[in-house]
Symmetry: C2
Subunit: 306 residues, 2 copies
Amino acid sequence: MRIFRREDIVAALDETTALVAVERAIIAFAAGRAQSGDAGHFTFPAPGDAHVKVAHLAGEDVFALKVSASFYANPARGLSSSQGFSAVMSATTGEALALFADGGWLTDVRTAMAGAIAGRAIGYKGGTLGIVGAGIQARMQAEMIRRHVGAERVLIWGRDAGKAQALATELGGEACGDLADLVRASDLVVTTTPSTEWLIDDDWVRPGARIVAVGSDGGGKRELDPRILSRAIVIADSVDKCLENGEAGWAVRAGLLAAETIIPLGELLAAPRVFDADAIVVADLTGLPVQDAAIAGAAWRVLTSS
Amino acid sequence: MRIFRREDIVAALDETTALVAVERAIIAFAAGRAQSGDAGHFTFPAPGDAHVKVAHLAGEDVFALKVSASFYANPARGLSSSQGFSAVMSATTGEALALFADGGWLTDVRTAMAGAIAGRAIGYKGGTLGIVGAGIQARMQAEMIRRHVGAERVLIWGRDAGKAQALATELGGEACGDLADLVRASDLVVTTTPSTEWLIDDDWVRPGARIVAVGSDGGGKRELDPRILSRAIVIADSVDKCLENGEAGWAVRAGLLAAETIIPLGELLAAPRVFDADAIVVADLTGLPVQDAAIAGAAWRVLTSS
């Protein structure tokens, strides 16, 4: 078993190849051509929590597991609060092939890739990109979308105006003090915060708005007024998981959305469609274990092919 | 993250300390003082299958995951059909601490330990030990029980009489050509085969018989005539898992055993009881993720304490 560190993976990963692999994984998941599982949510008094997820895409020569852990007292110890690793196993012999001590970097990358993939799928073609949040995922979504879809302007709103300004400067974008202005001005809004109260009011959302909701993935997190979803075409990376943990779940529980109208993202990717110019389209993303398997497999192949 | 190979672990593991840890884990599991999960059963066309299990015992400073895989075409490639590894993570910081590339050895050991623990708990104190099967687990159960509980005589029955004779010679025991004779002569019978049809007839089981059933853990496996369980006090390492995959499940589905009468092994260990001399007692073991966490934690502590 070979161990690769984050810097090895960053240096080697071919982003376009990995993005294509992640897109193919989302399609395979929706088509039932993937196995995936979650060993559950482990909590620790530290305080901390951990997930272990496993996935295999039919036909792939490897399968992968990912441990992701968050331990909130780590920064006081000089450690990152994000911990974890991935392991790649042969789907032919079961042998453990590689361990990625990546500190969660592959998860951040595949999450940003899913944002770019979903943004394009719901009709964003470049233009004004509005990023809600100013953390790691805000930066990575902006960069990934700009590189792989395009963005003439990047607007950033953050609860902490200083962090938003710093990120805007880093990205060559513009900090936006008023979230309503950002929503109204953007061709695509990507929400990346851990908010547990909705940030984007229904009133701000104009016909034709396109939103990719990344932040809400359980633990009471939500970013969108559920009335937005009542007017929208709603796409979900996993319908089940979005009903459980995503914006779609909040809207369905509020009686504002019929679960059976939600379109799996993988179906949309497999059979792309053009939405009406004035349709509001929301892509609700919670993250799929098959994305982890896809990016780990892509990294493994490039790291061992030379 | 440190990687340890099987030989490092074999050399370092303090068996008695590990056995106590496994027993404590079984007690903690029954008392609800453990978290454990299974990411599901993954199947591959190779052919092969894999499980990923995770567990944490309340109060322990580490948690652990285990990948166990069986790939049946491996021997033709010069590889073991058993593959997998364990990983130990800090329950305080989430950091990955150690990876055990043990080839499934820790699983074999903790399974044998559970046999010894269960055998003693159901009243075996040494005497004549009857081992059904002649594979790795047959040998390990015999050795572990002899070292930690005792055995004046060891009888071995195997479907392959040559393998049974070889194992008997290795152990200083006696091969037994007739399974009925073995069952009648033994103070404790331990079944370790992958049989999918029952091997031990109810007629052979005398009052006072004590049986530890290790082989049946899903996939249609069974070793005991379910009528045995209808007359027995039935103990299970996990009541739920034994109803799903164990001998208890066969007996309950046949209408021969009431599920609510099954006693969790951890409860019996926490509050030992003496069974009537003529009671038939069956301990049904499917294996618990907390056993994996316990033995991995014990190995980790000894490997890093020097």
